[in-house]
C-alpha cells in the first residue's frame, strides 16, 4: 500500500481550482481525500499494479498532467501511510518526490523534530521539547506512562505509536471537508472600528455568495485578525444552523469581532473562513414566523441572480457602496 500526498502549488485564494485537480487524481485511484486548501491524499492500492508503474513514476505522471491540463505545479510525497506520506512531502520539491521507504520508517522518523509529525501542534511540541523529547526517536524511546503523564492518556498513546512508525490512518474518500476563505488586507495599520466592520461585511458577503454558488452551506465560521507584528487572533463560531445566508454569516462575524474588543490593536488583515461545508440540500432550515427573514432570503436570491448576470459588483450592501 502506498499513499501519495499531493500539494498543488496554487496561488492563494484560488482554492476553487482544487475540485478539478482532485478529479485528475481520481483518474488514477478512487480513494482520494481532499486536504484543503491545496492538497490531497491518494491511496494507490491497485493503481500501481493496474498501471504497471511504481509510485515514483505515477507521481511524475500526475505532475505532468497537472501542469499540462491545469497549469499548476505540484509536489508529491509518498509513504506507507497517510501520516508518513505527509511527512515525506516536506522533503519533496518540484520534480522530486519525497519517499519514506517501507522498511526504514523508524530511521526516517528518528531524527525528525516532533513538530514535523502531523497532528503535533505547537502546544504539544512545546511541551515535549520542554522535557527534552525534541525528536521523534526520543519520543518513541520514552516510557509510555511518562508520555501519557505529559500530554494525556489517549494523546500520549497515539503519539508514541505514530512516532514509532505505526500509521493507522486511512485515506477516506468523499470525506470532503473543504472550506472557503477570503481575506481583506489593509494598506496600513488600521484601528478604525468602522473600517474593520466594513471589511467583515464585505468578506461575509463574498463567502455567502460563493457558498450559494456552490450550493453549499457552512457549519462554522472562523475569524482571523492579523496584526502588524505578524501575530494573529483566531476565533471560531459554530453557527446555529448550517447556512449560506450572508446576513447570518455577517452577524456571526460581527459577534466574534465585538468579542475581541479591539481598541489600539494594529490590524493589517481580517480574514474569514467558512468551514464544515455540506451540500445545501442536506441542511435543515429552521422556519420562523418572522416574515423579514424570509424576505431577506428571497432578496438574496434575486441579488444572486443579478450578480450572475451583471458581475459580482452589481449589487452590494449599502455600507460598502460608498
Amino acid at each position: 500500500m502506498t499513499i501519495l500526498c499531493v500539494r498543488f502549488q496554487l496561488p492563494p485564494m484560488y482554492e476553487a481550482a482544487l475540485p478539478g485537480l482532485l478529479g485528475l487524481l481520481e483518474e488514477f485511484t478512487p480513494v482520494v481525500e481532499a486536504l484543503p486548501p491545496d492538497g490531497a491524499l491518494a491511496d494507490l492500492r491497485g493503481a500501481e499494479r493496474y498501471f504497471g508503474r511504481g509510485a515514483a513514476e505515477l507521481a511524475a505522471v500526475i505532475r505532468v498532467r497537472a501542469l499540462a491540463l491545469h497549469g499548476v505545479d505540484c509536489v508529491i510525497g509518498a509513504g506507507p501511510g497517510p501520516t508518513l506520506a505527509r511527512m515525506a512531502l516536506r522533503d519533496a520539491g518540484p520534480g522530486r518526490m519525497g519517499e519514506v521507504p517501507r522498511d526504514a520508517v523508524a530511521e526516517f522518523l528518528a531524527d525528525k523534530p516532533v513538530a514535523a509529525l502531523p497532528g503535533v501542534g505547537p502546544a504539544t511540541a512545546r511541551t515535549l521539547c520542554e522535557y527534552g523529547l525534541d525528536t521523534l526517536g526520543l519520543v518513541a524511546a520514552a516510557p509510555l506512562s511518562t508520555l501519557q503523564r505529559l500530554i494525556g492518556a489517549k494523546a500520549g498513546r497515539e503519539l508514541r505509536e505514530r512516532a514509532s512508525g505505526v500509521d493507522r490512518g486511512r485515506v477516506v474518500p468523499n470525506a470532503v471537508s473543504r472550506s472557503l476563505a477570503t481575506e481583506r488586507p489593509f494598506g496600513h495599520d488600521e484601528l478604525d472600528t468602522g473600517r474593520h466592520r466594513r471589511a467583515l461585511l464585505s468578506a461575509a458577503e463574498e463567502l455567502g455568495t460563493r457558498l450559494r454558488a456552490l450550493d453549499k452551506v457552512c457549519r462554522t465560521l472562523t475569524l482571523t485578525v492579523r496584526y502588524a507584528d505578524r501575530s494573529a487572533t483566531t476565533r471560531s463560531r459554530t453557527l446555529k444552523e448550517p447556512t449560506a445566508h450572508s446576513a447570518a454569516l455577517t452577524r456571526a462575524a460581527y459577534d466574534m469581532y465585538e468579542a475581541l474588543g479591539l481598541q489600539r490593536a494594529r490590524v493589517r488583515v481580517i480574514a474569514l473562513r467558512a468551514e464544515g461545508l455540506d451540500p445545501a440540500e442536506h441542511s435543515s432550515y429552521q422556519l420562523t414566523f418572522d416574515p423579514l427573514d424570509d424576505k431577506a432570503r428571497r432578496i438574496e436570491e434575486v441579488a444572486d441572480r443579478a450578480r450572475e448576470r451583471f458581475g459580482p459588483g452589481a449589487i452590494v450592501p449599502g455600507a460598502l457602496a460608498a
Binding site: 523534530p113 521539547c129 520542554e130 522535557y131 527534552g132 523529547l133 525534541d134 525528536t135 526520543l138 520514552a142 516510557p143 506512562s145 511518562t146 503523564r149 505529559l150 496600513h188 495599520d189 484601528l191 478604525d192 485578525v225 496584526y227 502588524a228 507584528d229 505578524r230 501575530s231 487572533t233 465585538e258 468579542a259 475581541l260 474588543g261 479591539l262 481598541q263 489600539r264 490593536a265 494594529r266
Partner: protein, 1157 residues
C-alpha cells in the same frame, strides 16, 4: 501697534505634544516682532526656567502658565457625563485607548509670586492622583492670581462645538463664580471645517457667546510648534502619545499651529469676527482684549519665581537654634580638630590656620547653613549604617573633613580649598555624597524625615528623543513593520536624532541601513524633527533638593512612579538657576558591593572588617593591582585602565590617585601619560620649567596632572592668590578668555622676574592642560574605594565576588566576574534551594577548604523578591513535595530552578523533576486524588526522561542565571578553536610584538571612547575562559569589521599583537567573524563549510565595491568635533555602540528549539 501676544503656547516639555523647544519659541517670537510670549505647557512647568532664560536673551517678556485637564464641576457632571461610561470590554490585543477625555483649560499667572505659587500648587495637585491620567480635581481649581482661558477643549467649548449655547451657559456658571473677572473665552481657528476645535464656526460661536455672556474673548493660536511646516511632526507626536499609528484618512494637523506673527493673527481675527457676524474692524477689539490680558500677567522671573537667589533650610533644622549657623560650624570644626588629633600634631598650626581661613571664606558667602545641612545628612546616613563617602571638589576642604563629610585629610594630600570655594567665586559650591546604591531610597527617606516633605524633593531628569527612540516612535506612527523598525533602530549607535542621516552616510556599520534608506522616505525627516524633544521624565539618579519651607511655592512636584517620592518638575540645571540647594546623593553600586562583602565575611567567619581603617600600603593589594587582574575593582577595571595600571605599576596610594587622574580624555589628549611613565620608571629625567615649580610638580615627575597643580603654578608665577588662580584655570577652557589670560599671565610673571623663555614654556604647559586635568580632590575621593575594593579582592576574594555578583557594580557582565573568580581559584558553588540565600553568599567548600561563592536565588530569571525570601526562609527542604508546598514557587520558577540544578538534591534527573513539578501544579489546581503524586518518600522517582546534556545545562544556566556557572561557555568550542589554531588569552601573554594571531571569545564589553588623535576606535574585550583579550579596531578595519563586532556575541578575530610593557599588550584587529555562525557551519558542514565563509569578504566590504569610494578610510569624512582647547574628537566617538549590550547570556546564539527552556 506692537505684535500679537500668544497666550496659549506649548513647548516640547508638553510630553509628546509640543514640537518645539522653549528656546526656539522665544527666538522666533522675538524675530516675528512680538514683545511677549506665554508658555502654557500641558500639566507641567518644567520648561519655565529655560523659557525665562531664553526670553531674557531674546528680549521677549515671558508669561507663565499651564494647560491642565480639569475635572468637570460636580453640578455639570450630572447633566454632562452620558451613560456610556460603562466599562468597555478589555481588548484581547493591543491594549485600550489612552484616555484623553478630560476637558482642558489654560491657566495664566497674573500677579507676582502668589500667582506662581498658585501655578505650582495646581500642577502639583494635578499629579497627586498618582496612577491614571493627571486631572485637576474641581475643588482644587481655584486661585486668585490666575487668569483662566476656556478654549475649544474646555467643557464650555465642547458644548459650543455641540451647538448647545444653553448648556455652555450652564457650564459657565461655576467657572464664573470661581474666577469672575479673570475668566476669558479663547477663540482658535486652525482652518478646519465643521464645528470642532480649530474650526471657523466654533471660533465665531465662541466670540458670539462671549458677547452674549458679557465675557471677554481672546484670540490665540494654541501653538504647538514654532515654525510653519511642522504639522507632520505634531502628527507623529500625537500618534506616539496615544500609542496609535497616524490614520492617513483621519483628522491630521492642519499645519496652522505655529507661532504666527501679528499680521497673520490679525487676518485670523478678521475672519473670526466676520464669521461671528460683527464688523471687520471689531477684530482690533478682539486683539486688544488679548493684549490687555497679556498685560495683566505680571510675573517677574527674578523676583517672583526666584531665579538667581539662594535658599537654605532654616538654621534651626541643622542644629543651630540659638546661635548663628556660622558659630555652630566653627565650633563643630574645632571639635573635629580635637577629635581627629590634629591639634596635637607637630604641624597643628597649619591645620588651625587653614581651618580659620576656610571658615572666613564660608562666612564671606554666608554658606554656613549649607555645610551644616550636608553634615546633617551625612550624619543621618551614617547612623543608618549605610556606607557614605564624599566625592568631588568638596573633599578639598578641611572644614568638610573636620565636620565628617569627607574622609581624606586634605592637608596631607595637598588638596586646595580654592578649587572648591573661594571668595572670588560666588557660585554655590557642590558637595557630592556617595552612598550604597541599594539603600539610596532609604537615604532619601531619611532626608525627607529630617527636613520634612515641604522642604525636600528629588530632581527630574527629562529623557529626550535620541535616534533609536525617534525611529521607534516615528516608525510605529507610520505603520512600518515592527521587525523593520527594530532592525533599523538597533543598527544605530546612541546618537542624536538629528544626526541620523549624517551617521548613515558616514558610518560603515550602517551601510546596510543606508542602502534602503530611500524606501523609508518620510521616516528620516520626522526622526530628525523629533530631535532632543523630551519624551518622558524620570527621577534624576542622585539629585535631592533641599530648601526652606517655601519649596512647594516655588516648584511643582509630582510623585515618582515607582517609589512615590516627591519630585520637582525641574531638572538639575533649572534648580541651580532657581537657587534651590541641590545635594547630589549618588548611589554607588561598588559601595553596596563592599558593604555586602563585609557583611558576608562577618556572617560566615565572624571577623569584622572595618574598610575605612584598613592599613595603607598593603603589599598584597598592590601586587594584585600591578598584576592587572583588577576585574571588579572600582575605577581600574576597564581595558584601558588595566593597560595603564600595567604600565604605571602603582605601589602606593598616591600612585592610584595619579592613575585615576591620568585615565581621562584630557591627560590622554595632552599626552601626559607617556612622559609620566617614562619619568616614573627612571627612563627619562623629570623636567621642570623652572626650579620654583619643582614643589607643586614634584609628586608627578614634572607632569601636570591635577587642577590643583595648575592653580599652584599660576599662583606661584603671578602671585595672584589661589582663589584668583582657580578663576584663571576655569577661564582656560574658553578660547576667548584664553587670549586675555595669556597676556595677563605673561605680564604678571614678567613682573615677578621670570624670563620670557620660562614664561613661554610654562604657558605651553598650562594651555595644553586646558580644563582637562582632573581635580585631585576627586581623584583622592575615587582612589579610596579603589584601594578598598582591591584590598577586599586580595584578602577576601570570595566575599568580594559575592558582593560584586549581588550588586553588579562594574562594566562587565556577571558571567565574566564568575569566570574571573574561577580563574583566581575561588570555588563557584551551584544554586541549591537548600543552601542558596536571596543574595550571593560565601561558604566553606568542604573539599578544598577554601571559601567559595554560593550563587544567589535573586539571580534566577523572573524570581520575585517575596518568592526568593520565602524559599530562603523555609530552608531546609526534605523533598520536592516539601519544597513545593512550603516555598510555593510559581511553576515557571520551579522549572527554572530544576533546570539549573537547584533541586538536584531531591534526586531524579532535572527533566523528571520538571515533570513532577508540572504534576504537582496540576494536583494543586484540580482535586487532589487519593494517590500521592510522589511515591518513594524523599527521593523523587525517575520518569525515564532524558536528562539535560552538557550543552543544554549550559544553555539553561545562561538562560536562567545569565551566567555560565558550571564551566565557561567557550569550553564547548575548544576543539574547533584548536582546529583553527586560535591562541588562548593565557598563551597570548607570551606572544611577541607584531605576531599575527587568531583570538576568539565571548564579547564582554565594547567601547568607542574619545581618543586624542580624533579617530574613532573600537575597543572590545573578549573572554575565552582562560582570561581576557583586549582588542582594538582602528578606522581602516571598520569597513570590514565594525558591523560584525557590534552585532555578534561570539567573535573570532584575526589581529596583530602590540606590546607596550611587560603586562600591557593588546591585539589590533584586522578581520572579525561571528564565531557562532562559524560554529554552526562547522557542525553542519564540517571544516569545508567554514572555509568559504572565511574566504568571503564581509558584507560591508562587498558594499564598498559598488558604493562610491568617497569616504575612503575615514568614515568621519575628515569631520572632527573640535573642543575649545584644541582637543579633537571624532564626531561618532564616545557613544554607546550599536547593537545590544555585551553578552549577558540571556539572549545567546545557541538556544536550539530542543534545549531546556
Amino acid at each position: 501697534m506692537s505684535g500679537f501676544t500668544h497666550l496659549h503656547t506649548v513647548s516640547g516639555f508638553s510630553l509628546r505634544y509640543g514640537a518645539s523647544h522653549p528656546e526656539r519659541l522665544a527666538e522666533q517670537a522675538s524675530e516675528r516682532g512680538m514683545d511677549a510670549l506665554a508658555l502654557t505647557d500641558r500639566d507641567t512647568l518644567a520648561g519655565t526656567v529655560r523659557f525665562a532664560k531664553a526670553c531674557e536673551k531674546a528680549g521677549v517678556r515671558p508669561l507663565f502658565g499651564t494647560e491642565l485637564a480639569v475635572e468637570p464641576p460636580a453640578a455639570a457632571e450630572q447633566g454632562g457625563r452620558d451613560g456610556r461610561g460603562a466599562r468597555r470590554r478589555t481588548p484581547v490585543r493591543g491594549g485600550a485607548f489612552i484616555d484623553e477625555s478630560s476637558p482642558r483649560v489654560t491657566f495664566l499667572a497674573r500677579d507676582g509670586a502668589a500667582a506662581w505659587a498658585d501655578l505650582c500648587r495646581l500642577v502639583s495637585a494635578v499629579h497627586r492622583g498618582g496612577e491614571g491620567p493627571p486631572v485637576l480635581p474641581w475643588e482644587e481649581c481655584a486661585a486668585d492670581g490666575l487668569a483662566v482661558l476656556l478654549g475649544p477643549a474646555s467643557d464650555v467649548g465642547r458644548a459650543l462645538t455641540a451647538g448647545r449655547p444653553d448648556r455652555a451657559a450652564r457650564l459657565l456658571a461655576p467657572w464664573r463664580e470661581r474666577f469672575g473677572d479673570a475668566l476669558r473665552l479663547e477663540a482658535v481657528w486652525h482652518g478646519r471645517t465643521g464645528t470642532g476645535p480649530g474650526s471657523l464656526r466654533l471660533a465665531a460661536r465662541t466670540v458670539g457667546f462671549a458677547a452674549e455672556q458679557r465675557l471677554r474673548p481672546v484670540l490665540t493660536n494654541a501653538v504647538r510648534y514654532a515654525d510653519p511646516g511642522q504639522g507632520p511632526v505634531a502628527d507623529v507626536l500625537d500618534a506616539a502619545r496615544r500609542l496609535v499609528p497616524i490614520d492617513p484618512s483621519g483628522p491630521l494637523d492642519t499645519g496652522e499651529r505655529w507661532l504666527k506673527d501679528g499680521a497673520a493673527m490679525l487676518d485670523v481675527a478678521e475672519r473670526v469676527v466676520e464669521a461671528a457676524g460683527f464688523r471687520r474692524d471689531t477684530a482690533h477689539r478682539l486683539l486688544e482684549q488679548t493684549r490687555a490680558t497679556a498685560a495683566e500677567c505680571l510675573v517677574d522671573p527674578q523676583d517672583d519665581i526666584g531665579i538667581g537667589s539662594v535658599r537654605f533650610p532654616e538654621p534651626g533644622l541643622v542644629g543651630a537654634g540659638r546661635r548663628t549657623a556660622q558659630r555652630v560650624l566653627a565650633s563643630r570644626a574645632a571639635a573635629g580638630m580635637v577629635l581627629r588629633g590634629y591639634d596635637r600634631r607637630a604641624d597643628a598650626r597649619t591645620y588651625w590656620e587653614r581651618m580659620h581661613r576656610e571658615l572666613d571664606i564660608i562666612a564671606h558667602h554666608g554658606y554656613a547653613s549649607y555645610f551644616l545641612t550636608v553634615a546633617q545628612v551625612v550624619d543621618d546616613v551614617r547612623d543608618l549604617g549605610i556606607r557614605v563617602a564624599a566625592r568631588g571638589s568638596g573633599a578639598g576642604s578641611l572644614v568638610n573633613h573636620l565636620i565628617g563629610i569627607a574622609h581624606a585629610d586634605p592637608v596631607e594630600h595637598r588638596l586646595l580649598m580654592e578649587r572648591f570655594l573661594s571668595t572670588r567665586r560666588p557660585v554655590l559650591p557642590d558637595i557630592d555624597v556617595d552612598v550604597e546604591s541599594a539603600r539610596r531610597l532609604e537615604v532619601y527617606r531619611a532626608i525627607i524625615d529630617r527636613f520634612g516633605e515641604e522642604r525636600v524633593a528629588t530632581v527630574a531628569m527629562p529623557e529626550t528623543y535620541r535616534v533609536r527612540h525617534a525611529i521607534r516612535d516615528v516608525g510605529a506612527a507610520l505603520s512600518m513593520d515592527p521587525a523593520d523598525i527594530d532592525r533599523i533602530a538597533k543598527a544605530f549607535p546612541h546618537i542624536r536624532a538629528r544626526d541620523a542621516r549624517a551617521a548613515m552616510a558616514e558610518l560603515p556599520e550602517l551601510r546596510a541601513v543606508a542602502a534602503d534608506a530611500e524606501r523609508h522616505g518620510r521616516l528620516w525627516d520626522l526622526v530628525e524633527g523629533l530631535d532632543a524633544l523630551p519624551r518622558g521624565v524620570a527621577m534624576h539618579p542622585c539629585g535631592v533638593l533641599l530648601s526652606d519651607a517655601s519649596l512647594l511655592r516655588r516648584t511643582p512636584t509630582v510623585p515618582t512612579s515607582g517609589e512615590g517620592l516627591p519630585m520637582s518638575q525641574f531638572d538639575k540645571d533649572d534648580v541651580e538657576d532657581l537657587g534651590l540647594l541641590k545635594l547630589d546623593v549618588l548611589g554607588v553600586r561598588m559601595q553596596s558591593a563592599m558593604a555586602h562583602a563585609v557583611a558576608e565575611a562577618e556572617r560566615a567567619t565572624g571577623e569584622r572588617i572595618d574598610l575605612d581603617a584598613i592599613p595603607d600600603g598593603d603589599e598584597a593589594t598592590y601586587r594584585l593591582i600591578r598584576s592587572t587582574e583588577t576585574l571588579g575593582c572600582f575605577q581600574i577595571e576597564s581595558p584601558g585602565q588595566r593597560d595603564l595600571v600595567g604600565r604605571l605599576q602603582p605601589a602606593a596610594f598616591h600612585d592610584l590617585v595619579v592613575d585615576i587622574s591620568l585615565f581621562r580624555p584630557g591627560p590622554v589628549a595632552a599626552d601626559m601619560v607617556r612622559p609620566f611613565i617614562e619619568a616614573r620608571h627612571g627612563r627619562a629625567p623629570a623636567r621642570y620649567p623652572h626650579p620654583d615649580l619643582r614643589e607643586p610638580l614634584k609628586e608627578t615627575y614634572g607632569v601636570v596632572v591635577f587642577h590643583e597643580q595648575v592653580i599652584d603654578i599660576v599662583h606661584l608665577m603671578t602671585g595672584c592668590g589661589r582663589g584668583e588662580a582657580d578663576r584663571v584655570r576655569r577661564g582656560l577652557s574658553d578660547p576667548e578668555s584664553q587670549g586675555r589670560i595669556r597676556v595677563w599671565f605673561a605680564q604678571a610673571a614678567a613682573a615677578k622676574g621670570y624670563d620670557a623663555e620660562t614664561i613661554g614654556r610654562t604657558w605651553e604647559i598650562v594651555e595644553a592642560f586646558g580644563s582637562y586635568g582632573f581635580c585631585k580632590a576627586h581623584a583622592v575621593a575615587f582612589a579610596v574605594p579603589t584601594y578598598q575594593s582591591a584590598w577586599l579582592k586580595a584578602h577576601h576574594p570570595a566575599a568580594f565576588y559575592a558582593g560584586l555578583l549581588t550588586h553588579d557594580p562594574g562594566m562587565y557582565p556577571k558571567r565574566l566576574l564568575l569566570a574571573d573568580a574561577r580563574r583566581r581559584g575561588v570555588p563557584v558553588l551551584p544554586l541549591d534551594v537548600n543552601r542558596s540565600a536571596v543574595a550571593h553568599r560565601i561558604e566553606l567548600e568542604s573539599e578544598s577548604g577554601k571559601w567559595g561563592v554560593r550563587l544567589a536565588l535573586s539571580d534566577v530569571h523572573g524570581i520575585s523578591e517575596p518568592e526568593a525570601e520565602r524559599i530562603a526562609a523555609g530552608q531546609p527542604y526534605a523533598s520536592l513535595l516539601d519544597f513545593w508546598e512550603r516555598a510555593r514557587p510559581s511553576r515557571p520558577l520551579a522549572t527554572r530552578l530544576a533546570q539549573v540544578g537547584a533541586l538536584d538534591a531531591f534526586g531524579a534527573n532535572r527533566r523528571d523533576l520538571q515533570l513532577h513539578l508540572t504534576e504537582l501544579q496540576r494536583g494543586a489546581r484540580g482535586a487532589r486524588g487519593p494517590q500521592l503524586p510522589l511515591p518513594g518518600g524523599r527521593r523523587t522517582a525517575s520518569a525515564g526522561l532524558p536528562d539535560l546534556d552538557d550543552a543544554e545545562r549550559l544553555s539553561a544556566e545562561l538562560g536562567v542565571l545569565s551566567m555560565d556557572t558550571s564551566r565557561n561557555l567557550m569550553d564547548d568550542h575548544h576543539a574547533f578553536l584548536d582546529e583553527l589554531g586560535v591562541t588562548s588569552a593565557r598563551r597570548l601573554r607570551s606572544a611577541r610584538n607584531g605576531d599575527t594571531v587568531l583570538v576568539a571569545g565571548a564579547k564582554a564589553a565594547t567601547q568607542t571612547p574619545a581618543i586624542r588623535s580624533g579617530r574613532r576606535i573600537v575597543f572590545t574585550t573578549l573572554d575565552d575562559g582562560t582570561g581576557l583579550v583586549d582588542l582594538t579596531f582602528f578606522e581602516d578595519s571598520h569597513e570590514a569589521c565594525a558591523h560584525t563586532v557590534f552585532h555578534s556575541w561570539l567573535l573570532l578575530v584575526r589581529g596583530v599583537v602590540q606590546r607596550r610593557g611587560p603586562r600591557s599588550f593588546s591585539v589590533i584587529g584586522t578581520a572579525a567573524w561571528n564565531l557562532a555562525d562559524l560554529v554552526e557551519l562547522r557542525r553542519d558542514g564540517g571544516l569545508e563549510a567554514v572555509a568559504p565563509r572565511l574566504a568571503e569578504k564581509g558584507p560591508a566590504e562587498q558594499g564598498t565595491a559598488d558604493a562610491p569610494p568617497a569616504t575612503g578610510n575615514d568614515p568621519g569624512n575628515g569631520r572632527r568635533i573640535r573642543w575649545e582647547t584644541g582637543y579633537e574628537m571624532h564626531p561618532w566617538a564616545d557613544l554607546s555602540p550599536p547593537g545590544e549590550r555585551a553578552a549577558t547570556g540571556r539572549k545567546l546564539w545557541h538556544q536550539s528549539p530542543g534545549s531546556a527552556g
